[in-house]
């Protein structure tokens, strides 16, 4: 690393008076991070304040961003800054985690599956039209399967022996309204990712901040925050949402925000109890001994070390949210404008005897997505524990 005969700086050379005088400078990384968020804020400002309402956000491309999209962009940015970049920076630790993670085959497959869902869900809706009602196209069976000829209004594929065979035009078939199921499923992927990621991010941000500060400061701050959590946990969020549906109609945005803002209590408690233990560790004392502020200790020591339990909680939270959104959509309480999996499943429930594919196919995706999150969560929990390390016997 260091070339020996070159004089290098040692701890004795540091002129602290000089450093004390220079006003605080920021590292490049901090500047870039702040820049990214500023850019985001500018975009948001433009969309909501400057540009004429009703116009598309990016006129020439015809892209119009809704509140939900902005939130999703913010979420993805934050994941980039808070997860991807640190992983890239600490290459050794990342490789080590990966080695541990890799031991769990099912989790690797799940991760791959989730990656594919995420990619298709992010890209697909940019290129595909939203599925439209086309009654002449109703009840087309998926490719390689067939349905009795009387079922589809007009069989798109070949008809043989009284059965209508599926075609590549509608690989997963169509619904009773003639909506293409593949396209619906792809849109559903985006919805599910949005629900899972945005709500989870809101939840863990608040939970981590509340939990860590409660643990670090203790005293009345702790008491006040935790009593609030107690109250919030008993708050009937679901009825609040029902009321909003009743008053303003279902909306994915309000659903995500409501459950994100009101669902962090349990995780905050976990974070707090974990952080309470970490606070007693000697490295926290060592940081204090170096003159570190409370913010430094929380940011550098407490937060990273509660990430274990946070990640465990999140990997349980995300599939829960996805499933919850699907159930709401199934019950017709979802956002009527977004084609979520739950909605497609619901639309096929009366046709199960004849058109099994309408409900089954999105159901399979839902099932595997939830399973995959659980597998990944399990493996992450094992991999992220720095103490359960393979070096000892």
């Amino acid at each position: 690393m260091a070339v020996d005969n070159e004089p290098r700086e040692t701890f004795e050379d540091v002129d602290w008076d000089d450093i004390d005088e220079t006003t605080r400078s920021f590292s490049r990384k901090t500047i870039v991070t702040i820049g990214v968020y500023v850019l985001f804020a500018v975009g948001l400002l433009y969309d909501y304040v400057l540009k004429p309402s009703r116009a598309d956000t990016i006129e020439p491309l015809g892209i119009s961003l809704q509140a939900l999209d902005w939130l999703y962009i913010l979420t993805l940015l934050t994941i980039l800054v808070g997860v991807v970049v640190p992983l890239y920076e600490n290459g050794r630790m990342t490789r080590y985690y990966w080695q541990q993670f890799r031991k769990n085959r099912a989790a690797v497959a799940s991760l791959l599956y989730l990656g594919v869902i995420f990619l298709i869900g992010s890209i697909g809706p940019r290129f595909l039209e939203q599925p439209t009602v086309d009654s002449s196209n109703a009840y087309q069976p998926p490719v390689f399967t067939s349905a009795p000829n009387w079922l589809p209004v007009e069989c798109a594929g070949e008809v043989a022996g009284g059965s209508c065979h599926g075609t590549w035009a509608h690989p997963f078939g169509t619904t009773h309204e003639g909506k293409d199921i593949l396209v619906s499923v792809i849109y559903g992927m985006e919805v599910s990712m949005q629900v899972g990621l945005i709500a989870a991010l809101i939840t863990i941000t608040i939970a981590a901040i509340v939990g860590v500060s409660a643990a670090y400061f203790g005293g009345w701050i702790d008491a006040a925050l935790m009593r609030y959590v107690d109250i919030q946990i008993t708050f009937p969020t679901f009825f609040l949402y029902l009321m909003i549906v009743y008053l303003y109609g279902g909306s994915l945005f309000s659903m995500i925000v409501i459950f994100g803002l009101l669902g962090w209590g349990g995780i905050a408690r976990i974070v707090r109890s974990e952080a309470l233990q970490r606070r007693e560790e000697e490295y926290v004392l060592a940081a204090k001994n170096a003159g570190a502020s409370g913010y430094w200790t929380m940011r550098r020591h407490l937060l990273p070390n509660v990430s274990n339990s946070v990640i465990t909680a999140v990997t349980l939270l995300i599939p829960g949210l996805i499933l919850f959104e699907a159930s709401l959509a199934f019950l017709g309480l979802g956002d009527p404008t977004v084609p979520s999996w739950g909605e497609v499943i619901a639309s096929g429930r009366n046709d199960l005897p004849n058109a099994w594919w309408v409900s089954t196919i999105p159901g399979i995706f839902l099932f595997f997505t939830i399973l995959a999150f659980n597998f990944v969560g399990d493996a992450l929990r094992d991999a992220l524990d720095p103490r359960a390390e393979g070096g000892d016997q």
Partner: protein
């Protein structure tokens, strides 16, 4: 574990006499320290009954007492004989040869100290006796552990469960971890008693009080209702010892039982163990890294390094004429002796142990033949032994019959005549210290 132990044919059936725990008041009271043999309620040959003084006269002839056992060691068979024991752990980094072919014996009523640094395999050795280690990854790859005529290495888990706690008890370094915080001390102690003996709650409670008295816990009957966190570290360790004694074991395995304690409390616990041994006549295998403790309590010493035994002999021989270079180095490290600086170098990689002597790359006396072949076979040190029943043996080429061990002294003299070449240059700049890999 089952409360009703199936009548196991592997050791003699128990008599149906209800065993009572010898208390401080059965005649050996306060003077127990000075009268080791006369009042021993010892048991032998696996007969689980503690013999009350009134029945000892008509008990079977083979009920030899521990005192006889130790004075008559050559004729009496060993309580524990470990031969060529190899314990391995399968890890991501390869197979760790934690214990790699060791031999030692434990006589009845004797204390054997296994001493070594972290990574020497001493704890794994103690866990191998009743296979307490987690398996997998751990397993006994070779060798035998013969306890009172039974080869434990080839027993099934169920059979071992019967022996653990019933005839072989363990106490550990950290009493916090070993006591369940949600139950009272009494509850746990009574459970331990009832696990091994079919007695009702009242009798078990009485026994529990007796046991706590016996391990020097004041106001025992009121302490029974305390939770572990209400006791100090020393008290907890006493409770652990009481639990280990609940079944009147033949062998007590103590893994660093005093390391977490203050010196004053350590002295109390060591005295207690000596007294209990005199009263119960059990054998003790004591694992420690502290040579001071070894000198305090051992009859016989086994020095381990990197999974191998380096030197073994009676405590007097090992301390008065430490013969193996590693033992010498360890003794040098004791504060107040020799120079500061530890043993330069690091433990060999336990996944790929080197050929020849394990200590070769840290040994100041190493010669060429040290790095070839196997660990040198045991050679008798010769000289006058303080305890002639216990051979003093080392595994070092300088003690082979053809070689002359006095070269060690010669080398010592040479080195000390070169004044202090090591201390300053060593610590700054060089990379000594233990191990490239953390392995405790």
């Amino acid at each position: 574990m089952t409360t009703n132990r199936p009548d196991n044919t592997t050791h003699p059936p128990q008599t149906d006499q209800t065993p009572s725990i010898p208390t401080a008041n059965d005649g050996s009271t306060a003077t127990s320290r000075s009268t080791p043999a006369s009042t021993i309620n010892a048991n032998a040959r696996g007969n689980k009954t503690i013999v009350n003084s009134n029945t000892s006269t008509d008990s079977p002839a083979h009920d030899s007492t521990a005192a006889e056992a130790s004075s008559d060691a050559k004729t009496d068979e060993m309580l524990l004989t470990v031969e060529n024991l190899k314990t391995v752990f399968d890890t991501d980094d390869g197979t760790v040869h934690a214990v790699d072919g060791i031999d030692f014996t434990v006589q009845r009523g004797e204390t054997v100290c296994i001493v070594g640094e972290s990574g020497s395999g001493k704890t794994v050795t103690s866990e191998s006796i009743t296979q307490l280690f987690k398996s997998p990854p751990g397993s006994i790859a070779d060798g035998s552990v013969v306890f009172d005529g039974i080869d434990l290495a080839s027993r099934t888990e169920d059979e071992l469960t019967d022996i653990r706690g019933a005839r072989i008890s363990h106490i550990f370094q950290n009493p916090q971890g070993a006591l369940n915080p949600v139950y009272t001390v009494g509850w746990q102690l009574i459970e331990a008693i009832q696990l091994h003996r079919n007695v009702d709650d009242d009798a078990a409670r009485e026994d529990a009080v007796d046991l706590l008295n016996r391990v020097g816990i004041p106001e025992a009957s009121s302490r029974l209702d305390d939770y572990p966190h209400e006791l100090s570290g020393g008290m907890k360790q006493r409770v652990m010892i009481a639990m280990a004694l609940a079944c009147q074991p033949d062998l007590l395995i103590a893994d660093e039982p005093t390391t977490a304690l203050d010196v004053t409390i350590q002295a109390q616990i060591l005295t207690l163990l000596r007294e209990l041994q005199a009263d119960f006549g059990m054998s003790i295998v004591f694992i420690t890294h502290d040579l001071g403790v070894v000198a305090e309590i051992a009859d016989r010493v086994v020095v381990m390094y990197a999974g191998k035994v380096m030197e073994r002999g009676s405590v007097y021989d090992v301390f008065e004429s430490p013969s193996h270079p590693y033992t010498k180095a360890l003794l040098e490290c004791l504060p107040g002796r020799g120079s500061l600086g530890g043993i330069p170098g690091s433990l060999p990689d336990p996944t790929a142990p080197p050929t020849g002597c394990r200590f070769a790359d840290r040994c100041p006396y190493a010669v060429e033949e040290c790095t070839v072949g196997e660990q040198p076979v045991f050679e008798s040190v010769g000289g006058e032994a303080r305890d002639e029943d216990i051979e003093h043996e080392v595994s070092c080429v300088h003690y082979r019959s053809a070689a002359d061990p006095s070269v060690l002294d010669q080398l010592d003299a040479d080195r000390s005549s070169v004044p202090q070449e090591r201390p300053s240059g060593r610590t700054v700049g060089t990379r000594d210290g233990e191990g490239g890999v953390a392995r405790e």
